[in-house]
């Protein structure tokens, strides 16, 4: 029997439904409600383990330093003797008697100037070295030697050159943190895909346009790696430099506390330095993640 043979009007090749299909919209029940349980759980999983470790360390430290002939103070003694430093970071009782937060800020200010200069000069030099084969051949060996010089070894020279402690400290920061910026920028520039260069050549971008519109964005992930290493190094260098140059920074505070045998103060200052260094690192990493979003994705 062929299909044409079907004459019955009720038989259809494509039966139409009695009722047209209804479009049922999905009612999205996305609850962006504040869920205290989930957030508390997440916080607990990130905060509880380090908290336990810290408590255990404090207990061990307390036990180890409790004997009367211990050379270092136990945590309890740090708490009682340096209480005003811990509880009042922003007190200000005169030129040499200020809270630790002020000292950290003064050190940070030096880091900001020194590191800021290092970032600008470092990216520019790195771009030159990455872009020009002759600049690389000439400058790279020099950079490789100079970058191994320890930060403090620069200090006597810079004191002699600047004849003042503050610019000397800033110079030490600069010279310490510039190398990773230069080297990483150069690698980033060397790794710019040939296609991007071809695009810029077809558009006849000039040197400045190429630098701003192609080179810096394309090398941004590398540049930020360099900046992150650089800011860590500069925070290392400033504390050491301030110990020697004096002034009101956090580094000099430690040296001063040592000279007047205030060991608990030193311990509190160390905690400040550590936390600040951590924050700086995370800050640069966060800025980098924000600026380079989309850059690495192909």
């Amino acid at each position: 029997m062929s299909i044409q043979a079907i004459k019955d009007p009720n038989v259809k090749a494509f039966p139409t439904p009695a009722k047209p299909a209804e479009v049922i919209a999905f009612t999205a029940k996305v609850r962006r409600r504040f869920e205290p349980g989930a957030i508390a759980g997440k916080l607990a999983s990130t905060l509880v383990p380090p908290a336990i470790v810290i408590v255990v360390m404090l207990v061990i430290w307390q036990i180890a330093c409790s004997s009367p002939n211990a050379s270092l103070p136990p945590p309890s003694q740090v708490w009682t003797e340096a209480y005003d430093l811990i509880a009042h970071p922003f007190f200000d009782y005169g030129p040499q008697d200020i809270g630790l937060a002020w000292r950290v800020l003064i050190s940070l200010q030096r880091v900001a100037i020194g590191f800021g200069l290092a970032a600008i000069v470092g990216v520019a030099l790195g771009a030159l070295v990455g872009q020009s084969i002759w600049a690389m051949r000439g400058l790279d060996p020099v950079f490789q030697i100079l970058r191994t010089v320890p930060p403090l070894a620069w200090l006597p020279l810079s004191l002699a050159a600047f004849r003042d402690s503050s610019p000397s400290a800033i110079f030490v920061i600069f010279i310490t943190s510039i190398w990773p910026v230069i080297i990483n920028t150069a690698v980033g520039v060397r790794n710019i895909p040939e296609d991007y260069r071809n695009v810029s050549r077809i558009l006849r971008l000039n040197q400045l346009e190429f630098f701003v519109k192609i080179m810096v964005p394309a090398a941004a992930p590398y540049i930020f790696t360099g900046l992150r290493i650089g800011i860590g190094l500069s925070w290392l260098a400033i504390v050491a430099a301030e110990m020697l140059t004096g002034g009101v920074g956090i580094g000099f505070f430690i040296w001063d506390a040592w000279n007047s045998s205030r060991l608990p103060d030193i311990i509190v200052a160390l905690a400040y330095i550590g936390v600040t260094g951590f924050c700086l690192d995370r800050l640069v990493a966060a800025v980098g993640a924000f600026v380079t979003r989309g850059t690495t994705a192909k």
Partner: protein
């Protein structure tokens, strides 16, 4: 009548570590305004090198590229290239990618509003206006290539150079884009040179097909005119006699007379 684009006895060789390898030898070709020319050949025959020479991205060893009787030896927006891998800048949106080209080429001659209209017109041309604020990573390969074409067209080039533009795409997307390119070519009448290794694509799109011999020292083996009326429709053409004859001619050239020899690489 003088040719629009003239490749005048072009040789190209690369010197690497004291060894000179000859890639192209005595390339002679003239292309008229509005013509669509495909260059086909086996991989390694120097097709892409030839395109780069026309684009000015590499310099000729001997001979000259003449555009409207003027020698061109450096890249410029009047010879816009659509690269095989799109090469959109990943940190810019679709709109910004085209804007980079438009503001560089027309920054002085057109107002901001005119430039905006021009960008949107080109995005419309490749049907990508809906994705103007997306970044290249967020759109598909075919869409990226559309944007690449829009960027090249937005430079208002005298010659559009397509470097295996559909090579990295799947067959369906490729067919869509071929139709889009044919449509654009018929609307704008842009002089186009396309590198390809796909015989059907070459016959479907081109007015003439330039067939390259194998390297080293590759040259133009044969030039085949494709006398098919436009607009061309791929479904009708698949049984068209002229289409099949052209296709056969190219296949014969590539697989009988100039077989790809692996050792020549």
């Amino acid at each position: 009548m003088t040719a629009y684009l003239k490749l005048d006895h072009i040789d190209k060789s690369f010197a690497r570590g004291g060894q000179v390898s000859e890639v192209l030898k005595d390339i002679r070709l003239t292309i008229d305004k509005g013509e669509f020319v495909s260059i086909i050949g086996h991989s390694g025959c120097g097709k892409s090198t030839l395109l780069n020479l026309i684009a000015g991205l590499t310099k000729v060893t001997a001979g000259a590229v003449l555009l409207e009787n003027k020698e061109v030896d450096s890249p410029g927006p009047e010879r816009a290239v659509v690269f095989q891998n799109h090469s959109l800048l990943p940190w810019l949106t679709v709109y910004e990618n085209i804007n980079l080209a438009v503001s560089k080429v027309f920054g002085r001659t057109r107002s901001r509003a005119e430039r905006h209209d021009w960008i949107m017109r080109n995005l419309d041309l490749v049907q990508m206006a809906h994705a103007r604020d997306k970044r290249p990573a967020e759109i598909s390969g075919g869409m990226k290539q559309r944007v690449g074409i829009a960027r090249a067209l937005a430079m208002e080039p005298k010659i559009l150079l397509l470097d295996e533009p559909f090579g990295a795409l799947d067959a369906l997307t490729r067919a869509h884009l071929q139709d889009a390119v044919m449509d654009i070519h018929s609307r704008l009448g842009s002089t186009t040179i396309m590198i390809t290794h796909d015989v059907d694509e070459a016959v479907l799109l081109s007015d003439r097909i330039v067939m390259m011999t194998n390297g080293p020292a590759a040259t133009i083996g044969e030039v085949l005119a494709v006398p098919l009326a436009r607009p061309r429709r791929r479904v009708e053409l698949s049984s068209d006699r002229t289409f099949l004859r052209c296709r056969e001619a190219v296949l014969k050239f590539l697989y009988e007379r100039h077989r790809f020899v692996e050792a020549a690489e």
